[in-house]
């Protein structure tokens, strides 16, 4: 039952090729939920529910694709390929904890297990000053946010007397049974989580870290890890924040964060010269969209978040896989890619369109879900309008890449592209389009 243990055992020996199969196997095990392999009594610390399982399969699937597409690059990025894979598996282990935690202690452990390997991966390019700087920055800021998180958890413990996510509340007292300490703790926790999902104004590390880290690892960080942080966040919101709505107006707070995140992410992305940095800012902007799910947690939002993470992760992994192959990460570097590598250009277009949320791609339904989740509440329509306008802005910078590839002349230099890499990209693009046309395929799983 505890998938993390399986992963930990297998993570130590890595057959690069066997990796994919291994993960796929685990994903399938998860898929056949209901089957207990070995039961561990977790003392209500971990709660494996449908939502978590679904997310795990998405994370595993995405990682599988990630490893298949960019496995070679991971090996190339430093001397310790084996260790990098191990670290990635540690991260995954953390992710599984996050998708199943039912206790704030586990939340903390999950976040830490997820983050610490990332600090290392960020700095894995040891001879590159930027990579070192990014790792240090990430580590210091991350440590700080961890401190806040612990402080928050401690306060919440003080307020409710338990680490459990679900709290029995007696509705008496000043704030309808909600302790002042709990609210303060939640606020701290929210800041820490907002840091992890890089929501403004706690996003400052994102561009530097994403830019500094080797592109392969950025890809991993920006997609699967971020998605996991969101899943952890939504679980927190679902239980604790909904329960304390009477005491504090989380919605307004989230609305402000969303607007701020969208604003900063989108506007700054417009002015970037490097595609990698642009993607970093765009990931902030995308985080703004995912925050819509936290704004009002309901079934639509949960389903939507899963769909969004899937769509976003797949597309971003694809874009980064191509980015890694480019010699030059600036927009100019993409000039004329359509002539030199038509397959890469075409698939990249699909990924970018998906991120921009154009119909016929998975990204569209993802955005649709997010908007629907908020519209369903009936209030805060202005927030949706803001979101939509920024979605229109985002089209600008995604299309800049498309433009560079198709409309400008140049010799986009790439490393040698193997046939299997191309096939992988085409399959990925096909998945995205398939979800875009028939979301039903994915949605049918989503009833929990």
């Amino acid at each position: 039952m505890i998938c993390s243990i399986i992963v930990r055992n297998k993570g130590s020996f890595r057959h690069i090729a066997a990796f994919g199969l291994l993960i796929l196997l685990i994903a399938n095990i998860l898929e056949t939920y209901g089957k207990d392999f070995f039961h561990v009594n977790t003392m209500q610390l971990l709660q494996f529910d449908r939502f978590g399982f679904l997310f795990n399969s998405i994370a595993l699937g995405a990682t599988l694709i990630y490893v298949l597409l960019t496995g070679k690059e991971i090996e190339k990025s430093g001397k310790y390929a084996a260790e990098y894979f191990t670290l990635i598996f540690f991260v995954l282990c953390g992710i599984f904890i996050l998708s199943a935690y039912d206790n704030l202690l586990m939340l903390f452990l999950g976040i830490e297990i997820m983050s610490i390997p990332l600090y290392i991966l960020t700095g894995s390019d040891k001879r590159n000053l930027k990579s070192n700087e990014a790792a240090l920055k990430y580590f210091l800021m991350g440590a700080f946010s961890t401190g806040l998180m612990l402080m928050g958890i401690a306060l919440m413990y003080g307020g409710t007397g338990t680490f459990q996510l679900e709290v029995q509340r007696i509705s008496v007292g000043m704030y309808k049974g909600v302790s002042f300490l709990e609210i303060t703790g939640l606020l701290f926790l929210m800041v820490a989580m907002a840091f992890k999902v890089s929501a403004a104004p706690f996003h400052f590390w994102t561009p530097d870290v994403y830019d500094g880290a080797p592109a392969v690892f950025t890809s991993f960080m920006a997609t699967i890890v971020k998605a996991a942080a969101f899943v952890a966040f939504i679980k927190l919101c679902d239980v604790r924040m909904t329960a304390t709505l009477g005491a504090i107006d989380w919605k307004l707070l989230f609305a402000l964060i969303i607007v701020f995140t969208l604003l900063i992410g989108n506007i700054t992305a417009v002015f970037q010269q490097s595609v990698k940095r642009m993607l970093a800012y765009s990931s902030i902007a995308q985080a703004g969209f995912m925050l819509f799910a936290l704004f009002n947690v309901n079934d639509v939002a949960k389903e939507g978040l899963l769909l969004y993470t899937a769509a976003y992760s797949l597309a971003t992994i694809g874009i980064f896989a191509i980015l890694v192959k480019m010699k030059d990460y600036t927009f100019e570097g993409y000039n004329g890619l359509a002539k030199t590598q038509p397959v890469l250009a075409a698939t990249n277009t699909v990924f970018l369109l998906s991120l921009a949320g154009i119909p016929l791609t998975a990204g569209f339904f993802a955005k649709y879900y997010m908007l629907a989740a908020v519209v369903k509440t009936g209030s805060y329509i202005w927030l949706v309008v803001v979101g939509v306008l920024f979605a229109a802005v985002s089209v600008y910078y995604y299309f800049r890449v498309i433009q560079a590839m198709y409309f400008r002349n140049g010799n986009a230099a790439t490393e040698t592209i193997t046939f299997s890499f191309k096939t992988g990209l085409i399959i990925l693009a096909a998945i995205i389009i398939l979800i875009g046309i028939l979301p039903q395929v994915l949605l049918n799983w989503f009833y929990f």
């Binding site: 993390s4 930990r8 561990v40 977790t42 003392m43 610390l45 971990l46 001397k79 310790y80 260790e83 990098y84 191990t86 670290l87 540690f90 282990c93 904890i97 206790n103 202690l105 586990m106 452990l109 830490e112 297990i113 610490i116 390997p117 600090y119 290392i120 700095g123 894995s124 040891k126 001879r127 007292g173 000043m174 302790s179 002042f180 300490l181 303060t184």
Partner: protein, 167 residues
């Protein structure tokens, strides 16, 4: 005033005083030394609360390991008064204002929260902090996080090896 109350007040004053000294001493080495005093004072509080384990761990980990690390870093970087970079006064002012605001908000909120008034800590009572009980809880109810922490350490170790190994 009982003996434990006297000790409590003494320790509190000591902790606050040395915490302030950490901030205002010019020499970073002095700061670190004052910090050690803070930790000792807080450990004293823990003992008052009958939490021996916490008190000892606090001393070993913070006053022992972390402070040594701090001193080590300070010596490596050769920090002293002269090399301390001149900070922007505006930044200082802004920092003070925002920090002060946060403090005000927290304090006023805490004061208005009814549940906190008229509550005092139980001194010398309760056995939750004893090592025996702690061990029982740790290996019964919290065995999962305990085990999972090992993953955390393992990953940190792998990471340290990756970072530390010579290319």
């Amino acid at each position: 005033m009982t003996a434990s109350e006297i000790i409590f007040w003494f320790l509190s004053v000591l902790a606050l005083f040395s915490a302030i000294m950490v901030l205002i001493s010019r020499n970073p080495v002095h700061s670190v030394l004052w910090l050690i005093v803070v930790f000792f004072a807080i450990s004293g509080h823990y003992i008052l609360l009958n939490a021996q384990f916490l008190a000892i761990v606090n001393l070993i980990v913070y006053a022992g390991a972390i402070m040594v690390l701090f001193l080590f870093v300070i010596m490596l970087m050769n920090l002293n008064t002269e090399t301390e970079p001149q900070r922007n006064t505006w930044l200082k002012v802004i920092g003070v204002i925002s920090g002060g605001l946060l403090l005000t908000v927290m304090v006023s909120a805490a004061r208005s929260a009814g549940e906190l008034s008229n509550k005092t800590a139980l001194i010398g009572a309760g056995d939750i902090g004893l090592i025996q009980n702690l061990g029982k809880v740790l290996f019964n109810q919290y065995v999962v996080p305990f085990e999972i922490t090992s993953v955390l350490f393992l990953s940190a170790m792998v990471g340290a090896v990756v970072i530390g190994k010579k290319d």
